[in-house]
Point group: C2
Chain length 355, copies 2
DNA sequence: CTGTTAGCGCCTTCAG
DNA sequence: CTGAAGGCGCTAACAG
């Protein structure tokens, strides 16, 4: 059970295979200061003369000293660990998020643990509660659709743990990061309108995601601004999955008259719509234009390449994490940051076919 | 800096908003036993009468007691944390791995931290070394290509930290999980041969991945068994990416005479090959058959759907993690487990075209 | 600006 | 089978 690298204080003169990890006490002795001063230097606290600071740093380097996270955690009442809570989003999206979060964490010597959370499951809130009790976490990052679960957010507020939301539906009073999805979709659909499209279908996102609402709202705004009537028949449900896009695509493309363009609420579904078009012998974009949202890799891997909205997911995750770390450092810090989007016009959209 | 939920030992009679987390001492008092006995029960150690055990468990439940991981870690010299080391694999693959690892971890009350490692970077081994010093990790999970970096593996051995490998090239003396990729590819290529193909191209995997070797070897074995000559011209490099598949596909399909079938070392590259075929006006599978490896989602999302090898990545990750946890529990435990594969025959492969 | 003194909450040893 | 004492390595509070 015990690794044995333990009792070897100073009774072993030979350069044994186990260099007996230096402790803060050793560093203090080597630098000729007190433990607390070493601690101050390590944590970049003020109140240490520059010369002393340097001497301590040298001793740290010489002894190859690394503070023990467990001890730090126990004494300092924090873990240097944040958790990424997620619920079954697309792998591409989640990996972008992971990369962004980890990047930000590394810079601040934080670790990130992955924590799946089934937001529809009955005991979801309790499960998160147990997690918070069972692991010393300094903060949480939430991804959609967890960002839109009021029960969960309320509980987290109640427990007082700092958390950041990536792309939540409600932004007020939260910290994290958002992108103006309404405006982005609005521009995208306006682009379709400019190409001459008048019957524009929409495959909605997963009903649990606030993003689905924003995207639908953007679609409606664009129609209204273009003086087009909102036709409920042209709006069909989806779940952000390829298969749901395929099914909804079949449905939309069977309507009479057929829509000449379809905006799917994400790229996976847009790919499904394109497959539906292909099944029905419809050419994209000659007979039907298709566009998506997110600019995931699939957008470039399908043919023709997909017109979509570029969302800087990785940067968003990084920014959200920085906000979280700020809030961990001092409660009250951290805010909701807005990120820019960019239309990616590619080959899946083109002029509306003549009547 | 201080949350304030701290000093409230027992001087606050009202049911305040901060229930002052129970400590092991409280549980001991409630159960009428010593702290050590509680500890024994919590860690499932022997030497406690069944009745006592029950009483303790009741007290734990009543007080909603959760041991503090930091304290446990400090005193017990372990962290209940493992890290997943990865280097830029495909998001789909990695997320499957994450899911499997997390599943196995949850069951054993372990947490998993994500740790990207740039295996080509100069200071890679040192970076991992620093990681091991800076975070108390009980063990590591390695994914390809880290599993094939001798420098890294040697250092880990030297530090004596337990680790499990997922799909390493060399299996002897390691713990983890593998799949017989050689045999799988052999069967896949034999399937092409059975369809009448005689000129079969191969897009290789990333040169740093041992899997690329196994897959090439399987290809060669299948050719040999079929009495076909190995033609180096038909084997082109790749990097496991869509783009590399596209490029290599163009190259292979420009050869005269053209191969009638192409085995790409993974699905992403196979999708690239199919795109190359489509660019050149070649129909799949009528004029050229294409197959891949992994059975990632893209295999079903492209048209026609891809013939490939199903690899139970999630289960593999889970099994590897269980082996790791066993090795953590007692050094010497844990082994290399072989997992089954299954051919997925779909629409991208068909009879060889007549000459 | 710096040092001293007490724990953080648990586990380990050794005694009963 | 059970308990009491001590320490894991660090930081918070308070002195100086």
């Amino acid at each position: 059970m015990n690794a044995g690298a333990h009792d070897g204080r100073q009774q072993d003169p030979r350069p044994g295979p186990v260099p007996a990890r230096a402790r803060i006490e050793d560093v203090a002795a080597a630098a000729g200061v007190s433990m607390k001063t070493v601690s101050r230097v390590l944590n970049n606290e003020p109140g240490v003369r520059e010369a002393t600071r340097l001497r301590v740093r040298e001793a740290v380097a010489a002894l190859n000293y690394r503070p023990d996270p467990s001890a730090r955690s126990l004494a300092g009442n924090r873990s240097y660990l944040v958790a990424l809570l997620y619920d079954n989003p697309s792998p591409n999206y989640l990996m972008e998020v992971v990369t962004g979060v980890v990047d930000a964490c590394e810079a601040h010597h934080y670790g990130m643990v992955m924590q799946p959370v089934a937001h529809r499951a009955p005991g979801c809130v309790e499960a998160v509660d147990a997690l918070l009790s069972g692991a010393r976490l300094d903060g949480l990052i939430l991804t959609p659709p967890l960002t839109d679960s009021d029960a969960l957010l309320d509980r987290l507020d109640q427990r007082g743990i700092p958390f950041a939301c990536i792309s939540p539906y409600k932004r007020e009073g939260r910290i994290g990061v958002t992108l103006d999805e309404h405006d982005a979709v609005c521009e995208l659909v306006a682009h379709l309108v400019a190409l001459g499209h008048r019957r524009i279908g929409h495959v909605r996102g997963h009903p649990d995601h606030g993003a689905s609402e924003w995207r639908l709202a953007g679609y409606r705004t664009a129609l209204r601004r273009a003086g087009l009537r909102y036709d409920p028949e042209l709006v069909v449900p989806g779940e952000f999955s390829f298969d749901s896009g395929l099914e909804s695509g079949r449905r939309l493309l069977s309507l009479q008259p057929r829509p000449t363009a379809i905006f799917a609420a994400n790229d996976d579904m847009a790919a499904g719509v394109m497959r539906a078009a292909s099944e029905m012998g419809l050419r994209v974009p000659a007979e039907v234009s298709v566009c998506g949202f997110d600019n995931t890799p699939i957008a470039k891997h399908i043919f023709p390449q997909l017109t979509t909205v570029q969302q800087p997911t990785r940067d968003m995750a990084q920014v959200a994490t920085m906000q979280l770390l700020a809030a961990i450092r001092d409660r009250g810090a951290g805010s909701m940051v807005h990120m820019p989007y960019a239309l990616q016009l590619r080959d899946s959209t083109g002029p509306a076919p003549p009547d």
